[in-house]
Amino acid sequence: MIMKRIVNILLIFLVALTGYSQTEKQLVPSDLKQLTVVTEPSTLYKGFFRAGTALSYSVVDKYFTNEKNKEYFLQSAWATNSGFNFIFQYGITDRLQVDAAFPLAINIRQSESRIFVPSADTTVNYSFTLQSKGLGDCYFTLKYQILNEKSNNTSLTGSLEVTVPTGEKNPTDVKGETDYNPPLGNGCFATNLGLKYRKIQFPYSYAGYLYYTYQFPGSKIMDPSDTQETEFKDGNHLDAGLSFSIHLNEWIALTNDANLYFRSKDEIDGKIPDDAIAPWALSYEPRLVFQVKRFRISEAVRIPIYGKGIGADPIYVLIAQYVF
């Protein structure tokens, strides 16, 4: 009789304990939409839609020579590349996400020089401005979590991206060699395959990735004075990197990305030009990410550290995103 009572009391305790364990916080959809860049899964949850824009700005000032030295462009020219990239993302399932990106670019190049002809005792100021603005090449991406993050905060995500040459590939409004609108598009399709491994250990997350881009052949006008398009094939490229992110507080995260970019030699008319090189760059990109409920603002600077035959100027990026 006493034994029975003891068992009953223990059962009551156990029921109570079970009740406590069930008070664990459940993430509701509104919470899931407020996850930060550190805690969010590699792909959006099913039915979630994220829209955003990335404003980028860079100037053309320095470059890495073929001897891997960082040097200034010496000719008196000034060029800026800026634009908005509108990015839309949708979670088809908890593991499958589609992205669509539509870049609008504004590129300006100004060149100033002076020509002196002593025999005629004449100085001519030679200046021109080339400006292009409009839609660049759009790209569409499919991402799938091969290893699902839900099980142990570790994910392996595969991605397939297709770049569509929606940007104008040829110079337009050509009035002369220094009076035209430069192209905004690359003029060829490209496809990118990639894998990204990610591990979340709150308040940190680590990632490593490898992407390979295959450039399809195309044709375009290489020089505004050309009357016919030239066939070309841009070099395929490889992007590999390591990323480390940390929560500085509950709603601000700092991400650090070390990226290695390599591009094989370009081909023109089926041949690799004698002076062609295979450019590469090692870059570091710190990024501050502010998460205010469903709204996210990121500020990043991509800083080329070392490279060969490639631009060496930092790129400033400001990103604003919202999850619906």
Binding site: Q110, S111, E112, S113, R114, I115, F116, V117, S119, L248
Partner: protein, 356 residues
């Protein structure tokens, strides 16, 4: 006598309760967390006793315009002389007491200024000249101490600061590195002139400044004025060169100079939107004067320059130790001055190393 006694008793009767109340306003315990997270509108102009602060900043400047002597805007893009200025700043400060602060700061600056490319065409060829003036290197080290009024900060504060800028950085220009490229014949080549300048001033300079701050609830107003002047004349050198074939030979000539005196005035209005978020707009004005440079044994006055800048920005407390400041600089008016748009981001690290 009786009246005196009565008035004395009344006087002390009135005074004593006040004294008792004041005595009961015991100073709040110094809590490290509270001090580190003190919002801008509640903190004094100097650091707290035992507080250490390290500020690392990066300033990205785009130098696309300047002002001439009449204050008219010059487009450096159209002059072929636009450039990018990268500045990395480091500052450390320490609060010796709640009213005395010491600090040191310096910077590293890199700026490559191109001049308009010129080509000379003759019957036998074309000689093209590109010119680059690069400024690269550390700046001098500034050491200073600040004092503020010895009262607990409630709603206003006043501070004075003075110090010396030590000529620790190299100030003489390094030897130029001109090169000839695309050489086809003695009358057909490209010459790239590159001048390698350093950022030191070459002489010690003194500075003093005053600052005042008033906080009314969430709004604060801060004003600051500073004056910097050189201790003496300096010596530097100019590089010349001769070209034989495609080989440059360099020589240098000394010259003397006196750095400009510098007056800066700035005022800012702050709004403490939240305990961790302060937004502000600053106006910044500077004027240089009294400097000169020697050319061929004659001293020529440096042109006086002025610049008025507006700087909107914010201060964001990320954690008790880390704060981010960010502001952009937009130039409104000036004379004889470069006017680069800039964006400055500062990461501020704070701690009490000897305070448990």
């Amino acid at each position: 006598m009786k009246q005196v006694l009565i008035w004395t008793v009344i006087f002390f009767s009135v005074l004593m309760p006040g004294a008792t109340i004041n005595a009961q306003q015991e100073k709040q315990a110094r809590d490290k967390f509270t001090l580190l997270t003190m919002p801008y509108n509640q903190r004094p102009l100097t650091l707290y006793k035992g507080q250490f602060q390290a500020n690392a900043a990066y300033r990205f400047g785009v130098r696309t315009k300047s002002y001439d002597e009449h204050g008219d805007k010059i487009s450096l893009k159209e002059d072929g002389a636009a450039s990018v200025v990268h500045t990395y700043l480091l500052e450390v400060k320490y609060g010796i007491t709640d009213f005395i602060e010491i600090g040191a700061d310096s910077y590293f600056l890199r700026n490559g200024i191109r001049s308009e490319t010129s080509s000379t065409i003759s019957g036998s060829g074309t000689i093209t000249a590109n010119t680059l003036n690069e400024y690269r290197g550390f700046g001098d080290i500034s050491l200073g101490a600040a004092l503020r009024v010895p009262i607990e900060y409630k709603s206003w504060d006043i501070s004075l600061k003075g110090g010396i800028i030590l000529p620790a950085a190299e100030h003489e220009p390094s030897q130029p590195t001109h090169i000839i490229t695309d050489y086809k014949s003695p009358n057909n080549y490209t010459v790239n002139y590159q001048f390698n300048n350093n950022n030191g001033s070459g002489v010690s300079q003194y500075f003093f400044s005053g600052a005042a701050k008033i906080s009314l609830s969430k709004i604060s107003i801060e004003a600051r004025g500073a004056y910097r002047f050189p201790s003496k004349e300096g010596e530097s050198k100019r590089w010349g060169w001769t070209l034989y074939g495609s080989t440059f030979t360099y020589y240098s000539n000394p010259y003397s100079y006196l750095p400009d005196r510098l007056l800066t005035i700035n005022g800012s209005i702050h709004y403490q939107a939240a305990g961790w978020f302060d937004i502000f707009i600053t106006n910044y004005y500077y004027k240089t004067s009294s400097g000169w440079t020697e050319y061929y044994d004659n001293k020529y006055a440096n042109p006086e320059s002025t610049l008025f800048t507006i700087e909107p920005g914010f201060e964001l407390q990320i954690s008790p130790s880390i704060t981010i400041y960010q502001y952009a600089g937009f130039q409104i008016a000036g004379t004889n001055a470069d006017a680069p748009f800039y964006l400055l981001t500062t990461l501020s690290f704070n701690m009490f190393p000897f305070f448990k």
